[in-house]
């Protein structure tokens, strides 16, 4: 199915990539589907010209399926900041959420592989779409793995997709076939997208799952915890927190043997640890996880003996709001690191800001800037004539670290609780210009993509990725 063309050029951004075969070079120039180093990706790739944006319509009174939106982010284009294509899913109710690539920089030396296919799971449906994205302006659905084929492995609720070395794709799965615990990991083959089965060989005391990151040079993988699908699917209920139905731990796995090694339990300091990121430098054995409900950022590291430790490094204070009975937590829902590992960005979805931290001293992150847009505390509630429904949530940074984009929806049922207007009118995609040399960023008041105006009806824009890879898709060996 994959036309086996080795790309000898730097796999860049926006050109159709099925037939990129050019003149031969020495092996050390062979880039396979990615970049040899994080710096190569940061400096040698072109500026992003289009974005893939997940756009669920699940849980809305809209007669349409979820879609993958293609947004023009090339300022020289006539259709800049517009939705230029929508690929509707064959079924309704998927809740497209997070997605990933068939291959990336982790398979840097795998000749014959190209970064051509997006793996696009439905969080609610458990359906997995394989999308041919060789032409980034016109992706097409190549294959659909139906929910029954996933349930056969007693797994459901697919979330994080990473391409991994060895020709495989691993997806974190949050529940069993009934939407209860435990979850696990589903492995697909990169060649034909068939299901291999569970990735893990021994899950130890891991029951809940959410996001994961891995550092193959050190043979380690770390996974986080949300809750059982039947718990978080219908909405956020504080009783479930009191009854310990939500996660407060992360799990350390042996990447080679696929066995669970250690559990780091944060307790009250780290309730609902969601997005986990490690530096792009493959030498590093530390990283950060955003604890959404506790609204803390926790740093974890290996102590040298293969044992992992943790500490809280950022604590977002709850804030009083005149219309709320209880103090409002920030809700740290997404977090990412720039490709040069110098800056961390994260969102406070209930407060309404996105923050930028200098992490050159990893144990002492330094707040350098923040942008307020929407939310419960932002002064700014509109951009370019569009009301901001929701608040900064899913983030994506340009490869060169100079543009930060985000969308404002979290999850259909949770939107309904906290920003119900998203369920009626859809969410937005916004952008800030980042000045890494100066340690600051600024909202781009000209850029807004209102998914309320999407063809066929409003949608909840969610995760964003660039053709060619980004700082949350790629891992280096």
């Amino acid at each position: 199915m994959i036309e086996s063309t080795v790309s000898y050029t730097i796999m860049s951004t926006d050109e159709p990539s099925h037939s990129t075969e050019t003149q031969g070079h020495e092996h050390h120039e062979v880039k396979g589907p990615g970049y040899p180093t994080p710096a190569a990706m940061r400096t040698e790739s072109e500026r992003e010209k289009t974005a893939f944006v997940m756009a669920p319509r699940v849980g809305m009174d809209v007669d349409g399926p979820d879609f993958i939106g293609v947004v023009d982010v090339d300022p020289d284009s006539d259709t800049y900041a517009e939705l230029i294509d929508t690929v509707e899913m064959p079924n309704k109710g998927d809740e497209l959420h997070h997605f990933g690539w068939n291959s990336c920089s982790s398979s840097c030396h795998a000749e014959g592989l190209t970064r051509d296919y997006l793996i696009v799971p439905g969080q609610r449906s458990s359906r997995i779409h394989i999308v041919d994205a060789a032409d980034p302006r016109q992706p097409t659905i190549e294959k659909v793995i139906e929910p029954e084929d996933v349930f056969e492995y007693d797994l459901s609720a697919p979330h994080t997709v990473h391409c991994v070395p060895g020709g495989k794709i691993v997806i974190s799965m949050l529940g069993n076939a009934d939407g209860e615990l435990p979850g696990g990991f589903l492995q697909l083959d990169q060649d034909d997208f068939s299901i291999d089965g569970h990735w893990e060989s021994d899950r130890g005391d891991m029951k809940m799952n959410y996001d994961y990151w891995y550092q193959p040079r050190h043979g380690v993988m770390l996974s986080t915890e949300w809750a059982a699908p039947k718990t978080y699917y219908p909405g956020f209920d504080l009783d479930d927190v009191e009854n310990s139905k939500y996660g407060d731990s992360i799990h350390i796995w042996d990447w080679e043997t696929k066995e669970h090694r250690q559990t780091l339990t944060f307790g009250e300091e780290g309730l609902i640890p969601l997005e986990i990121r490690m530096p792009h430098n493959p030498e590093e054995t530390e990283g950060y996880v955003g604890a959404a409900l506790s609204s803390n950022v926790i740093r974890f590291w290996e102590d040298g003996d293969g044992n992992w430790e943790w500490e809280k490094v950022i604590d977002i204070e709850d804030r009083e709001h005149p219309d709320w009975d209880m103090p409002v937590p920030g809700l740290v829902t997404d977090l990412l690191l720039s490709l040069d590992d110098q800056y961390m960005f994260f969102s406070n979805w209930l407060h309404g800001d996105v923050r930028m931290y200098d992490i050159s001293d990893t144990g002492n992150p330094r707040l350098v800037d923040q942008v307020w847009a929407g939310g419960n505390f932002g002064d700014r509630q509109e951009v370019s004539g569009h009301d901001i429904r929701g608040a900064p949530q899913m983030l994506q940074l340009s490869r060169d670290g100079r543009r930060l984009y985000w969308t404002t929806s979290l999850f259909s049922s949770w939107d309904n609780q906290f920003y119900p207007e998203i369920g009626e009118e859809g969410s937005l995609m916004l952008k800030a210009d980042v000045y890494p040399e100066e340690g600051r960023m600024e909202l781009d008041e000209e850029f807004v993509v209102d998914f309320g105006d999407a063809p066929g009806g409003p949608a909840r824009a969610h995760e964003i990725r660039w053709p060619g890879g980004d700082c949350t898709s790629d891992v280096w060996q």
């Binding site: 009174d61 809209v62 109710g93 219309d323 709320w324 049922s413 609780q417 119900p420 369920g423």
Partner: protein
């Protein structure tokens, strides 16, 4: 076959005929009536409706509902089969009833 009347909060209404062996969502999909749904196995609550009149049974355990929801008449239409003519409140806003903002 039972007559199932669907009512939205904006005043719209639709009626579909549902056999005892079919779920309400099966029929709304077939008939092109837009009622939200997600997982289709009773876990996610996207298809939540509120039974106003009549009798429905869940063909699978409605895991997405808590006991308090079931006492209040909420049903999951992706696994709900009628046992009599029914009136059901439907639409995305019904799902939002299940769990209000806990801090507001």
């Amino acid at each position: 076959m039972h007559r199932v009347t669907l009512e939205w909060r904006d005043g719209r209404e639709a009626t579909v005929d549902v056999a005892e062996s079919e779920t309400v969502i099966n029929v709304t999909e077939r008939e092109g009536v837009v009622v939200p749904y997600g997982c289709l196995y009773g876990a996610c609550g996207t298809c939540t409706g509120r039974l106003l009149e009549g009798n429905l049974v869940h063909s699978e355990r409605p895991r997405g509902l808590k006991p308090r929801h079931r006492q209040d008449g909420y049903v999951l239409l992706c696994v709900a089969e009628p046992r009599s003519d029914c009136r059901i409140e439907v639409g995305a806003r019904v799902q939002a009833d299940l769990v209000p903002n806990p801090w507001k």
